[in-house]
């Protein structure tokens, strides 16, 4: 597969008020990548993710998405479009949001709705399918993550690992081009975390989405990552960019090596 830029971040500065979190970020996420955002605690990983999904406006710089607009009604041909979220029209923003699937750290399933209703909501918001079709799709998505039969359960009635998987099903409800995961394995036991990694890999293979993952689980980083960016809280900028396995072998930066080897140094 040829490498095509899917998300391009140019000279991004993130700040809360006057407090700069990270600055001068420049990187590209290619189509089909599993892109890892890593770094120590408090370096702004989650903040970067919030910028990537359009929840927070950059203090400076641009984030440009390369989206396939499937405008079936007017033109038969689908066209590639470059959209900058914050200068886009409302219609373009909706097109982008439709293509975002996000797995939040806590799952963030809507607690007043059943699992099926949680997955149905994105479908209702963006499609004109009938209620029965939507429910069928919701059941299918739940079955994909191993939760067949749990349609009528409320998020509070299932375990943390199941909630994560249900949230994953919701993130995939619209078969998005971009999937964003915020600490997917946080709070899971090692086996469940490993299963979730496998699930992510399988989904990528099957649907070809571009996946951005915030994590500091080394096992996950090496198991699924194909590209990454390393944020440093002291210099407030990125200090490494590339495949995590290659970074481990060839990076000359002490901080990156320390992180990737749990402070034990390269063997």
């Amino acid at each position: 597969m040829d490498k095509k830029a899917h998300i391009t971040v140019e000279n991004l500065t993130m700040a809360y008020g006057s407090v700069v979190v990270q600055q001068n970020l420049d990187f590209t996420v290619n189509k089909g990548d599993i892109f890892i955002i890593m770094g120590g605690s408090g370096c702004g990983k989650s903040t970067l993710l919030k910028h990537l999904v359009g929840l927070q406006k950059p203090a400076n710089g641009d984030i440009i998405y390369n989206v396939l607009s499937k405008n079936s009604s007017l033109e038969q041909k689908s066209s590639q479009k470059e959209i900058n979220f914050w200068s886009a029209t409302e219609k373009e923003q909706r097109l982008l949001m439709k293509n975002f699937g996000i797995l939040y750290q806590s799952g963030a399933l809507w607690s007043s709705m059943t699992l099926a209703e949680n997955i149905a909501l994105p479908l209702e918001a963006y499609t004109n399918l009938s209620a029965s079709q939507i429910m069928e799709l919701a059941s299918l998505k739940l079955a994909l993550v191993g939760l067949a039969g749990f349609e009528g359960y409320y998020p509070s009635e299932i375990s943390g690992g199941m909630r994560k998987r249900a949230a994953l099903a919701r993130a995939m409800a619209l078969d998005p081009d971009f999937l964003f995961f915020d600490e997917p394995s946080a709070g899971l036991d090692p086996v469940s975390a490993r299963l979730l990694d496998d699930l992510i890999l399988e989904l990528k293979e099957s649907f070809g989405s571009t996946i951005v993952v915030v994590t500091h689980e080394l096992a996950s980083i090496f198991a699924i990552g194909t590209n990454s960016v390393f944020l440093d809280p002291v210099t407030k900028t990125m200090i490494a960019n590339g495949n995590p396995k290659e970074l481990l072998e060839s990076s000359k930066d002490e901080r990156v090596i320390n992180f990737l080897t749990r402070g034990e140094g390269r063997l």
Partner: protein
């Protein structure tokens, strides 16, 4: 059995060196028997002191409390140019003491309460007030836009979202509304009766209770109850959704939280409040009637007719209109505080509290405004 801490002082070298011999059990449980001050005083009483060392051979059990003691002495020694010799300490104690010193205290990490001047404080509060007023106006604007979009059919509210909210703020509130309004009617009748009986005008208790309940008190009581019950619940629900990132999940899906969460709640409460108000009116009049019939020996028909004669339809509509306004205010206050909630469990509690306060204050202010307006308009 814990042995007391004993400290012996031995000076050598013409009072230049002090050896502290500590024996007994140096544990956190008997730390209170030892006064650090006394030891420091003892050291102070030796002006020519050059070094302090320790003899802990007799020491039996120890825990980290001995470290605070040693640290205390060390700090004193440092500030008075006395050498603190730790070679004589047992290996374990020395190791832990070194551990505490391994990372020097970072400059500037200690939190200092900045003493702001009185005027700076006033300025801060003024600025905060304007920003919070602006937030409130922003929110009201957003809700207005969302309602306009609803009216023009740009989006729909599904019954499956609206109905549970209506159920939660209507049937569930009936018992407490009955109790409170009935008691308020009762109280009004009692207070009025004391005066009216003196003129032999007991029958006017019916007018008093009828007008007061139906024109103002029914709506206000229902409003206050709903502020405490439903306003707080709205704030807590939305606050919890904020904490769980559920509101972010809506936003990133392109679903406006105002349209999806706030509008149904405002709509539900503004539908339900006038109904609750009419119910509260009824219960209030019933309360007054209990006093009228059983204490003032009034006849049921007499009381009923007097109430009907004295309460105008205008009063009734004013009460119902007020309760509609209160419904909007309570729902807005609850949703506003919920949406403003920060990301912690304690913030949810604060949001609920602040929602109740905001709702009740706005109810009272709105009542005053409506009353004055009615007076001016002569209704």
């Amino acid at each position: 059995m814990i042995n007391n801490i004993l400290i012996n002082y031995k000076t050598v070298n013409d009072n230049k060196s002090l050896v502290l011999t500590i024996s007994g059990d140096f544990l956190i449980d008997n730390l209170e028997t030892l006064s650090f001050q006394e030891v420091i005083k003892k050291i102070e009483s030796l002006p020519n002191l050059v070094d302090v060392s320790f003899d802990l051979v007799e020491l039996q059990e120890w825990d980290s409390s001995i470290l605070t003691f040693l640290n205390h002495i060390k700090l004193y020694c440092l500030s008075h140019n006395i050498a603190f010799i730790k070679d004589s300490l047992p290996k374990g104690v020395e190791r832990v003491l070194n551990l505490a010193e391994a990372v020097p205290e970072r400059k500037g990490v200690r939190k200092t309460e900045a003493q702001s001047s009185f005027f700076a404080d006033i300025g801060d509060r003024a600025v905060k007030f304007t920003t919070s007023a602006k937030d409130m106006l922003d929110f009201i604007g957003e809700v207005t836009v969302a309602f306009t979009r609803l009216i023009f059919g740009r989006y729909k509210i599904r019954g499956s979202i609206l109905m549970p909210i209506i159920r939660e703020c209507s049937v569930g509130a009936l018992p407490i509304v009955s109790l409170i309004s009935c008691l308020v009617g009762l109280i009004l009748a009692f207070v009025g009766a004391v005066q009216l009986v003196m003129f032999g005008a007991q029958i006017y208790v019916a007018s008093l209770v009828g007008i007061a309940m139906i024109r103002v008190m029914g709506a206000v009581m229902a409003g206050v109850i709903m502020a405490g019950r439903t306003g707080a619940a709205f704030a807590a629900q939305l606050g919890t959704m904020q904490v769980n990132e559920e509101i972010d999940a809506l936003k990133t899906l392109g679903i406006s939280p105002v349209e999806f969460l706030v509008v149904p709640r405002v709509l539900a409460l503004s539908i339900i409040m006038p109904m609750l108000c009419v119910y509260a009116d009824l219960m209030g009049v019933l309360g007054g009637m209990i006093v009228g019939i059983f204490l003032l020996d009034l006849n049921f028909m007499e009381y009923y007719n007097m109430t009907r004669d004295s309460v105008s339809l205008n009063s009734f509509w004013i009460g119902v209109f007020q309760s509609f306004v209160f419904g909007v205010l309570v729902a807005l206050a609850g949703c506003l505080r919920g949406m403003q909630c920060k990301r912690s469990a304690s913030a949810v509690g604060e949001a609920a509290t602040s929602a109740v306060v905001t709702a009740i204050v706005s109810i009272v202010v709105a009542t005053a405004i409506i009353t004055v307006l009615c007076n001016v308009l002569g209704i």
